[in-house]
């Protein structure tokens, strides 16, 4: 569980987050949405410790983030940033890096850790890439590998910053299904998405941000029903149903 208490943060003189308090529950996928510059990535960075709040506190599983050692924090929280370099490593080696916080002997990797990494690759359906170099993989395949790394890290709280960017439709759905599987393990997932239909379909809870404030917070259906999404983004949202499946279509607002 992640809890932000009275967070104040500014990039310059002007305060951006003013006494922001939010809680993210275990076993839930919370999606942060909002226009560019609304503070989604900054919020993730504040939780991850990449940015420090001027005041307020971030709690991970009931304990202040500052009270954790770097290694303890890595066991409690994993972070999937927006951009990463592509290392000259095989997919399996990258996933094994996820075990870094848990491995005592960092020079020789035990077989059990290798198996944990392989399990993580299997969990995201990327076991066929295990021995391939990251440079040989497509962008979508690489995203899967980084997701497997987070899976292997086994932290109960996971942050994702736009993990579906630049992915084709099939890869997007596949990655979101993987997140849903992680959620079923009881992890607390917080994800930034720009893709509204994807966010509406997969999120258990949506937090709509605007210029550092929480504009709305609730279940996707409730926010849609209340017309909050439509007003926040200036769009029309339509629900599509196919048996038990439910999806959302986002259309441009009608011109007045």
């Amino acid at each position: 569980m992640i809890f932000l208490e009275n967070i104040c943060f500014s990039y310059g003189k002007e305060p951006f987050f003013k006494e922001l308090s939010l809680a993210f529950q275990d076993g839930q996928l919370t999606v942060l949405i909002g226009e560019n510059g609304s503070g989604k990535t900054t919020l993730l960075k504040l939780i991850a410790g990449e940015e420090q709040p001027q005041s307020g506190c971030v709690f991970l599983d009931g304990k202040a983030r500052k009270a954790y050692t770097a290694n303890e924090r890595a066991r409690a929280l994993s972070y999937f940033p927006q951009q990463r370099p592509t290392p000259e490593m095989t997919a399996l080696e990258v996933v094994m890096m996820g075990r870094y916080p848990c491995v005592q002997n960092r020079f020789v990797t035990p077989q059990s850790e290798r198996e944990r990494a392989l399990e993580a690759l299997q969990a995201v359906g990327a076991e066929d890439f295990a021995d391939r170099f990251m440079q040989e993989l497509s962008y979508g395949q690489r995203q899967k590998i980084y997701l497997a790394m987070q899976w292997a890290q086994d932290a109960p709280n996971c942050l994702f910053d736009e993990p579906t960017n630049h992915l084709d439709v099939r890869s997007k759905f596949s990655l979101m299904e993987d997140l849903a599987a992680m959620k079923k393990q009881g992890r607390c997932l917080v994800c930034v998405l720009h893709d509204l239909p994807l966010a509406l379909r997969y999120a258990d809870r949506l937090v709509v941000l605007r210029q550092g404030s929480v504009l709305a917070d609730g279940a996707p259906e409730a926010l849609c029903r209340a017309g909050i999404i439509e007003r926040a983004f200036g769009v029309r949202v339509r629900v599509l149903e196919d048996g038990e499946e439910r999806a959302y279509a986002v259309l441009p607002a009608k011109q007045a």
Partner: protein, 342 residues
Amino acid sequence: MRILQRSSIPSCSLKHRRRLCLVLLPILTGLCFALALAAGSSDVSVWQAIKDLFSGALTTVDFKIVFYVRLPRALGALLAGSALAVSGVVIQAVLNNPMAAPNIIGVNAGAGFFVILAMAVFQNAIGVIPIAAFFGALFAALLIYAISALTGAGRVTITLVGVAVSAVLTAGINGVKTLFPDSVYDVSGFLVGGLSAVNFSSVLPAGAMILPVLLLCLVFSRRLDALCLGEEVAGGLGVSVKKTGLAVLVLAALLAGAAVSFAGLIGFVGLIVPHIMRRLVGSIHRYLIPVSIFGAGTLLLIADTLSRVLFAPYELPVGILMSLAGGPFFIFLILSKRRKLP
């Protein structure tokens, strides 16, 4: 959709390639070391020199040439090569920049500038040179790191900043050389980089510095692996990015400074070797560092032997040979990395 194809050797798996490199490269280094002792402008016998050593005939020509000229020089090639290559490996990991190398981003030029300055200020104080080389290398490395950390600049920008820092420091070297011609004389060999003046008294202290630092770099290997995933990911894995970056940059400066102190400004070893070795064994540093040590040692032993025998009895400084090979390699690197750079 494949973005880039890797020019790997498909018939040989990565695991086998690593094993082969870890076994074959030390053997190759040993052979090149023996060749460096045997080859040269004078026709002497290594075997005879060894027999002289055991029979106590320590004044024969064979013994003197092999043990007092060629042996320290071969050791110097081995040590300078491995130090510069591992310095390159470490700098590339910390700056997350495959084109960063001690000579490209000004680490060597920093060491050179401080050495020349020390020669001008403390005339005939030979003992000051290694210290000056270390602090010069550290100054340049920290300057680039600070710019990188403070501005969050991309890889290309950092490389260009490094090139600019290198140009400024090189101008400093030439300035001191021009202003203090009497104090700083006969430095052309130092500036080009060469091993002709190497002897036990210069190579042994540097070796005493280089060997433990190489081991320390190996200790940091897992953290260097994490840094290759980017600062944010490394931080998320529990790596203290700033502390690790600073610590390994100090190690890189110690290595580059120690190498420059006796071998001068040999260029491109720190660029060429890590790249070739990374192609062979990947970026996992517990493999990359040992193979770079032996790969660079082998490269510099071969280059130095060639520099002695190609135009015998005249000698080409090994730095010239390295630049002749390294320049085209750098161009190749820029062209092959063009699609990957941000």
